[in-house]
Amino acid sequence: MKPNPKNFRVDAAEKLHGKTQYIRDEKIEGLWYGATIRSPYPRARIKDIQFNPDFDWDTVTVVTAKDILNNYVSMLENDMPFLADKITNYYGEAIVILAGPKKDNLDEAKKHIKIQFEELPAILDMLESETSDVKIFGTNNLFKDILIKNGDLEVAKKEADEIVHIEVRTGFQEQMYMEPQGIVALPEKDRVVIRGSIQCPYYVKGALDTMFDGKKEITVIHVPTGGAFGGKEDYPSIIAGHAALLAVKSGHPVAFFFDREEDIQFTTKRHPSYHNDTAYVTKDGKILGLDIQMVLDSGAYCTLSQVVLARAALTASNCYYIPNIRIRAKAVATNIVPPGAFRGFGGPQAVFAIEMLIEKIANQLDLSPVDVRRKNLIGLGQQTPTGQILKYSVSGKETFEDVLERSDFEIKYLDFKKNNIPILEKLSKGEYPKQKRSDVLRGIGIAPSQHGAGFTGTGENVIKGKIRVEINKNGQPVIYSAQTEMGQGEVTAFQIILSEALQIRRDDVIVAEVNTDFVPNSGPTVASRSTMVVGSLLVDAANEIIREFQNRLKENGKIDFEYRQGYFYSGEKIISFKETAKMYSDLKVEKQYEHPPIIQFDDVKWKGDAYPTYSWAAAVAEVEVDPVTFEIKVTKFYTTHEIGKAINYDQAVAQIQGGSLQGIGYALYENIRAENGKFNVQGFSDYIIPTTTEMPDFEVSILENPYPFGPFGAKGLGELPLVGAAPAVVSALWMIFGREFNEIPVLPEDVFSLFY
């Protein structure tokens, strides 16, 4: 593998200068601010809303459910209202929204609105949802119920030497993008323009088209976005709706700028999960069968939970070949803030669960956790639980062996065990465990992971993403796509892909602003799909541009032109791409995506190619646990990723470092619970995300194994780094303590309770 030369990001300088304008940085004439009155109960009937006549209601604009034509956010189930009408289903659900030019007057107005509630029984525990008398969704509170089967579990049961069982739980995780949610709605005559910190402008447009029942034209414009990680995928549709309603009613531009507390309390998070898994194994650790049951706490409304569940279920066997498997997965309703998209999208929960099961197999059978993994890793030609035969670009084994070797895993494993013996002995005898500062417990853990790139199942064929490349009058190609830059480096990557396919300078490629009036819908910027799926369209467009230019040159001069390294040649004639492009600057090329026909999926029977391809990774975490304070720290983190081909090597490494640290946070620090339906955190001081003091030293390596349908072989990357980090960290804790860890986050008190 040879790293590409560094491809410096095109957006870095502006950001360093503080010149990049995020939505709060825009000066908008006559801007009003929005505010929200929310439900103080997890579930309640709204009996009455009273507006105290002592307040001058002409100074603000108020909107309630009855002002809304179609009061539901257009998403998978259309079950979530913009504003609760008769019943409110979670603590913090919006009931009344208001806007005005002055923030303090808005606060005053809020005090003069009294809502009468009748509190209703609520579902606060996901495991009680399905059987509860309280009905939040349908007859059984199931947003989705998935059954995937392959092989025959009975055979596995018969042949197994050992049965291993584990229950696993994972908690909420907050995206904690540095820039909180921010949206502005600008009213025009028959139109509303939305500007904001948005991951998927066409989602917002769809939601507002529906809300206004087509009676307003909707334009959505993406503004530089200060991180999203899934948190600005589905949620902005809600506040864009709120802002638009208030803007239309008041005639003023209206902003919803959440502060950190409002953001962390009321916006989407990663779904908490519960897993009840059984493995049927031989005594040397070969897994013959797996019986997996998982539940995702999906909150009060469906949002994207059905697809999150699908990805979790389809990732349940991680990188392993399991001949006999049954996966039962349910997304259940509770009276809690609806979770939504977060980098990994169900994958981190599923991978954590099976990796803990693997640890338990090793522990119960007294085998090395490395060997158990190695014995079961999937390879080329083998089947996934949906019967998908892996035909290309499979690197589960290669990434695993690479990271083992680079980290000196086997040697450290033994050294650390030796180091820990006296400390653990003292601890279990109740003696003070520390003689010198360096007396810390050391652990090393490993976990492989994978991520299906692109939409799940038939998703890409449903959305049929479209892009356009136009040649401008300076002879530069301009990319029109709906993919958004949130920090991940999309703009730079697109410039690289198109410029390399056209063999021209990167700076000569322009990426147009994402404005739904001008860019075609190339699909949302999610699911690690932009580079692989939309990037492949860019290469197609480049080829067509070259062909088209050749045709036109031929028409002109009646001779054939060859294209090489940015020049068209014919005999003695030579003309550069740019000169040609200037001559034919009217050229527009459109490309639409469809899966290559060899990729087939049946989403009723859950059979076939669940994803067009997978990216692969394996991580090793070195962990220190202080035997007195039980503080846990990851000191070194090795990870090997195989992503087909790194389009921007340096920024691929950057994605891997950032995503891994989010996964480490998920494992050890990021703790948020709903207490009686209300989240128990307010900001960075009680929801701890890793700072420079928590970061490990990263050792990243990228392997290449091209995917035949990706641009230059590239597959998806964005989410994968987060997926396998937490299990690698917790694997190290199993190694230190030889005890079961089955829940994240693992906090010092959890380790403490092993001894006291």
Partner: protein, 171 residues
């Protein structure tokens, strides 16, 4: 209340609520939008500025403490000679992603390099930047850029000189 403060070398006479935050004065009243708000509670470092030569979270400083103060934001740093190499180090190390934390990091970098006395270790940098949170990058590339800067004598000298020009000129 009426206060006078100097922001990026220019004096401003403003009339403000005593409790108005320096962050709001900078962003809303004086239009220095480079300074960002990530939490409003002194927990994230996105709003870091130099106040009388010390780095502070501008979301925590009320107007009544500001009379006669000197503030440098990222807009002011752009004019320092040393800004170019700092910018280059962050770009060439691939440190920037969404960028929202960066004005804060840039200010903290200048302040850190100015205070630097002995050779800088990675651990020292980690401790010094614990108050600047970044959710995107995993910090590695940011710290590599800072380390690279700290290791160059001419950059440290340049910072001292720029600093003198900025602060001492007025004393």
């Amino acid at each position: 209340m009426k206060i006078v403060l100097i922001v990026n070398r220019k004096p401003y006479k403003i009339n403000v609520e005593p409790k108005r935050r320096l962050l709001d004065i900078l962003r809303d009243d004086l239009n220095f939008i480079g300074t960002k708000e990530g939490c409003g509670k002194g927990e994230c470092g996105a709003c870091t500025v130099l106040l009388n030569g010390r780095r502070v979270n501008s979301c925590l400083v009320p107007a009544f403490q500001l009379e006669g103060s000197t503030v440098i934001t990222v807009e002011g740093l752009r004019n320092w000679k040393v800004f170019k190499p700092i910018e280059r180090a962050f770009i060439e190390n691939g440190a920037v992603q969404c960028g929202f934390c960066f004005p804060g990091f840039v200010i903290s970098t200048v302040s850190f390099l100015k205070e630097k006395s002995s050779p800088v270790t990675l651990d020292k940098i980690k401790t010094a930047f614990g108050g600047n949170i970044c959710r995107c990058t995993g910090y590695t590339k940011i710290l590599a850029a800072i380390q690279e800067l700290a290791d160059q004598k001419d950059i440290i000298d340049q910072i001292q000189e720029d600093w003198k020009n900025e602060f001492n000129a007025r004393k």
